[in-house]
Symmetry: C2
Subunit: 235 residues, 2 copies
């Protein structure tokens, strides 16, 4: 656990199982994606095809394909005859992404809830405990990773892989924006940890789907709201 990059599609992870040597286009995709998610390529970074191709030792064709895939996921902006850049930190885009995430995470949580057993709950709780410790040591990077782990545990048996895929895409997008909860709103992280515990109790108590969905949705939405309140103090 605690990897930052998140496999984006069910199709993709299935393909990864095959013994095949990965296609170069696939390798290029993974490599560039990793650099973006890890922050080596920051928003606005100019992705020159020939340069990346040379770095990887490939030709440009598979690199193009990779970039196009990343574009489809929203991690990259590709303009005709101009080139590709890592998607920027446009606040509007942030809003869209967070709002969409709140919806799909809410749904994913509600759908998964009935399938979460006590073992998973315990594991999630352990992760949440680690998150508390991160707060003390002030380790925002690890905190963000653990936050994904926490929710990943809940989504382990999510009955709808499409929705899970949407969640992962949102996460990767946020990762590319380097938007840790810490950075945007101090204090929100503490609240987040508390909400995690509340969520676990709802799931343990077999609360109805609607209640759980609202709580999960609100959990994400609150982070967005906190950001907006900070960005526009003219409340």
């Amino acid at each position: 656990m605690t990897e930052t990059a998140v496999g984006s599609s069910a199709v993709e992870s299935a393909a990864a199982l095959k013994a095949h040597p990965e296609s170069k286009s696939q390798q290029a995709y993974a490599a560039v994606k990793a650099r973006i998610v890890e922050g080596a390529y920051t928003p606005g970074y100019r992705l020159v095809l020939a340069k990346i191709a040379e770095d990887l030792g490939f030709s440009v064709v598979p690199v193009r394909e990779a970039i196009r895939r990343l574009e489809a996921e929203g991690l990259v902006k590709f303009e005709r005859n101009v080139g590709a850049t890592v998607s920027g930190i446009d606040p509007t885009e942030y809003l869209y992404t967070m709002q969409t995430l709140s919806i799909v995470e809410g749904a994913a949580t509600a759908l998964s809830a009935p399938l979460i057993d006590s073992v998973a709950i315990a594991r999630a709780r352990a992760v949440n405990q680690e998150m508390r410790e991160c707060l003390e040591h002030f380790d925002p990077v690890r905190f963000t990773a653990l936050n994904q782990d926490f929710h990943s545990v809940l989504f382990e048996h999510c009955p709808n892989p499409h929705i899970l895929d949407l969640v992962h895409r949102g996460w990767n997008r946020l990762a590319s924006l380097r938007s840790s909860t810490f950075r945007f709103v101090p204090g929100r992280a503490q609240e987040s940890v508390r909400e995690h515990e509340a969520l676990l109790q709802l799931i343990e108590g077999a609360a109805d789907a609607d209640t759980i969905e609202k709580a999960a949705r609100q959990h994400r939405a609150a982070t967005l709201d906190a950001y907006l309140a900070q960005a526009n103090p003219d409340h």
Copy 2:
């Protein structure tokens, strides 16, 4: 209105505004997508790169890119060293898609509702009236198209393009499956038209977001349920 194909991403439609001659990869994407959505290429159809390239008068490289994009949207399955086929009509996939659609359509409707004016309501009502007429003449293809028109009117001022994009992707996926409401469950279409009217009344009455979201979500979910009930009569 009443086109069957639905532009899939905000980025894409923005790009379409530029005076640029479309890139060939873009043209290939549009062409193949249209054939899939219109049903010229049915599920399972083998997409041979060289053949498509020859048809369009392009080389294979831009066609590959186009296919990859369609893969990302779930319209095409692309297997390494084997080739691309139009995604199949797996009932499980249908379930996933419909469930996801119910969630994103619900959210899109709720978000859009406060921004829908009386003119738009009237237009939506007119479309719904046309749908009623389709029922009499038994025109399922047009019915499906009008159904998209109806919801498109509601989504016209949707404040979150990401969510709208997800809706469109779902629609295209369903279109590629050739799954008209008619085909799957006779009688469901009539119900659908009634639900449209109910939805309009909720919006006119400025019902709260939660109520509207639930109604819109249920509207889609009911079609899925009807299908499932028919597929597994062992209730």
